[in-house]
């Protein structure tokens, strides 16, 4: 009998719930150990042992691993594509080994990420599932992620207008609890119909004129609320409808760099790497929809997003839609972000007052009439 596995993986928003469930199904009899929730300590630990100039997600991941190892984890998972994220695994493993920890490290990146190789790796680690069962579990997890993303997308846009404070958050927690236990498509379907109804029936009071802000940027900083000082919550508390296209479903099913380059119009000719083209295409989409503004967030030193910035600046000028650029690092002060965010919301309110029909304020100045050719969900 092999040694009992204690499997852990880094945090990313609420995705630890479907991932934990998937790993539990793949490795029955072993322990799945999601790292403790991210706190200031996580980031401190991660930064202490990371290269100073690496992007912030690396530090968060490393902090997660260290806290998981402290709890007894002995198998760590990582993946990686695109930008520097593609090299996270190798470097993190080496740092942790140098610190003297004993563990197995599996990195599903590049060729290792091909489904058949992933299956073989998991089988070698002791998973009793046959390929069909494995595919079933994988499909179920993807469907669960898709549902989670859809409902969170709805919630983000509407939670600022809930009539009873906390009702949206409560419903969200219930959804997460339900997704923890799902083990068949039938169950997932029930959860879907129950919660879709519940979310759409959430009592809302939306004023006739309200402000809409789109979020674009690097995937980790967008999806892990701790790393952006709960920006979405802050905006919702100010009564702003928040839209964010980037999520795991988008990365898995919606992302198409060629399409993004096309729908970013003339603002991009070449791919700036990772999700840079998506940031521009999505901002273009928000501009065409007449959004009041876009917030572009990235971790400090994120090269693809840095490459996309000049295009975003031209887009902002042409469409007369303000784009706020925020950069997050382990040293970023929350007060500084607060000041910039307050000024941004003041600004979009004042800008709206300028035109009688506020909804049209961003339209009519477009350099070209391009309907964004994307399959982004309609906000």
């Amino acid at each position: 009998m092999k040694k009992k596995l204690q499997i852990s993986f880094p945090h990313l928003g609420n995705y630890y719930i479907p991932i934990e469930r998937l790993l539990k199904a793949i490795f029955p009899g072993h322990t799945i150990l999601p790292p403790p929730p991210i706190t200031v300590r996580t980031l401190e630990l991660g930064s202490r042992y990371s290269p100073d100039f690496v992007c912030a997600p690396f530090k968060f991941n490393l902090g997660n691993y260290l806290e998981a190892l402290e709890k007894g984890a002995n198998l760590l998972l990582q993946t990686g594509t695109g930008c520097r994220f593609g090299y996270y695994g190798e470097l993190q493993e080496q740092i942790l080994r140098d610190l003297g920890w004993d563990f197995q490290f599996i990195c599903f990146s590049r060729q290792e990420a091909r489904p058949w190789l992933v299956y073989q790796t998991l089988h070698r680690l002791g998973s009793p599932l046959n390929p069909a069962q494995f595919l079933y579990q994988l499909g179920l997890t993807l469907a669960a992620i898709r549902l989670l993303d859809q409902l969170e997308y709805f919630l983000r846009y509407n939670i600022g207008f809930q009539t009873e404070p906390g009702s949206g958050e409560r419903l969200h927690q219930e959804l997460l609890m339900a997704l923890k236990k799902v083990d068949s498509f039938g169950q997932l379907h029930q959860i879907k119909s129950h919660f879709t109804k519940a979310f759409y029936n959430l009592p809302l009071k939306r004023p006739e004129k309200y402000y809409r802000v789109g979020l674009v940027g690097d995937l980790y900083t967008l999806m892990e609320p701790f790393s952006n000082f709960y920006l979405e919550k802050e905006l919702a508390n100010k009564g702003i409808a928040v839209s964010r296209i980037m999520n795991i479903s988008f990365l898995l099913f919606g992302k198409n760099t060629k399409k993004s380059l096309l729908s970013s119009a003339d603002y991009l000719k070449y791919n700036p790497g990772a999700n840079g083209a998506d940031s521009v295409a999505q901002s273009h989409f928000y501009a065409a929809k007449g959004f009041d503004g876009v917030i572009h967030i990235k971790s400090f030193g994120c090269v693809p997003e840095l490459n996309a910035t000049p295009s975003l600046q031209s887009l902002s000028r042409d469409w007369k839609m303000p784009i706020l650029h925020l950069s997050f690092d382990s040293h970023t002060s929350e007060a500084g972000i607060q000041t910039r965010l307050e000024a941004f919301t003041d600004m979009i309110e004042l800008r709206r007052q300028r035109t009688e029909d506020g909804r049209q304020s961003g339209l009519g100045f477009a350099p070209q009439n391009i309907e964004a050719k994307t399959n982004y969900p309609n906000p």
């Binding site: 403790p36 706190t39 200031v40 300590r41 996580t42 400090f300 910035t309 000049p310 600046q313 902002s316 000028r317 007369k320 303000p322 650029h325 950069s327 690092d329 040293h331 970023t332 007060a335 500084g336 607060q338 000041t339 910039r340 307050e342 000024a343 003041d346 600004m347 004042l350 800008r351 007052q353 300028r354």
Partner: protein, 316 residues
């Protein structure tokens, strides 16, 4: 009837500014003093000074605060309006220069650019991670060269062959400055190089990608430095205006915002003589260890912040 007035306080990292205005936005009293890392003491001093400048029968109807200590001072003075620096500066400047298109602001620790179209803020930016090219940098370099901060600008204008300094980063600029000094350049030339470095740094960082249209208004502490103003004019290719009260625009904006808020509550200058205190401690409720700051007036808890979850509220 008593004359009514409105108070605006701008508490920055380096200096504290305050103005009292009447309903016609005319300044009745003003003061400007160093914060010295103690905003509460600075504001007390400020309030006492403003009170001395005013007639007895003036009633302050509302208070606005801005600057990095706006929250603290807002709680202290019971302010009706607590606004970020960007909005306050824009409102203050627009009241004096309705036609302004670009506000350039370089303060002690931060710098910003505000773009305005038809009297509406359309875009803005602030310096990101580092405080390169702000007042703090100028003040430390003045000390190195043995020059009073106030004299930098005038001396810089006398330069015949200004040196070129690497402006990207304060640390590079500083080592460049030392190198130039050690190779025998004149002090005036060094100072002129320093002023150009500050202007260049600003345009390359904060002003990057922004379209800077005239009229340009330059404010913040560094605007008092004629050398930097000239360097900005040269780099931009159009005139840069500096108001005599350029350092007070934030406070003025806060006062105007307070006036426009239409929330009124009599303000008493006695606050300047009360006892205020802050106590901070780490929450300890979870590994997040939020830093909780309690704000006390004469020993009573007035406000508490820094808390992120219900664990911290219990410890009030």
């Amino acid at each position: 009837m008593d004359q009514v007035a409105y108070l605006g306080i701008d508490t920055g990292s380096i200096s504290t500014k305050g103005v009292v205005i009447d309903q016609g936005r005319q300044i009745l009293a003003l003061d400007y003093l160093w914060t010295r890392a103690n905003p509460i003491a600075a504001v007390k001093e400020l309030l006492n000074s403003l009170e001395d400048q005013l007639d007895q029968d003036i009633t302050i109807l509302s208070v606005g605060t801005t600057g990095s200590a706006r929250k603290l001072i807002g709680a202290m003075t019971g302010a009706q309006v607590v606004k970020n620096e960007i909005t306050a500066h824009a409102v203050g400047t627009l009241s004096q220069y309705p036609e302004v298109r670009t506000i350039v602001e370089i303060g002690g620790q931060d710098s910003k650019i505000i773009l305005i179209e038809d009297g509406i803020v359309t875009d803005y930016a602030m310096n990101s991670l580092c405080a390169a090219g702000t007042g703090a940098f100028l003040s430390s370099q003045a000390e190195r060269l043995g020059v009073d901060l106030e004299d930098i600008g005038i001396l810089a204008l006398q330069a015949e062959n200004p040196v070129k300094l690497a402006a990207r980063c304060t640390v590079f600029a500083e080592s460049d400055l030392i190198h130039k000094a050690q190779s025998g350049h004149k002090k005036e030339d060094l100072l002129a190089g320093l002023c150009s470095a500050v202007a260049g740094n600003y345009l390359n960082n904060v002003g990057k990608g922004k379209k800077i249209d005239p009229p340009v208004i330059f404010q913040g502490g560094v605007s008092k430095n004629i050398g930097v103003t000239k360097a900005l004019e040269e780099a931009l290719g159009h005139p840069v205006q500096v108001d005599a009260n350029s350092h007070l625009m934030g406070a003025l904006g806060a006062a105007i915002l307070a006036m426009n808020s239409e929330k009124e509550e009599d303000f008493k200058f006695e606050i300047g003589r009360l006892d205020f205190d802050t106590k901070s401690k780490e929450c300890g409720g979870c590994p997040n260890n939020c830093e909780l700051v309690g704000f006390y007036k004469n020993g009573d808890l007035l406000d508490l912040w820094g808390n992120r979850c219900p664990n911290g509220t219990i410890q009030r």
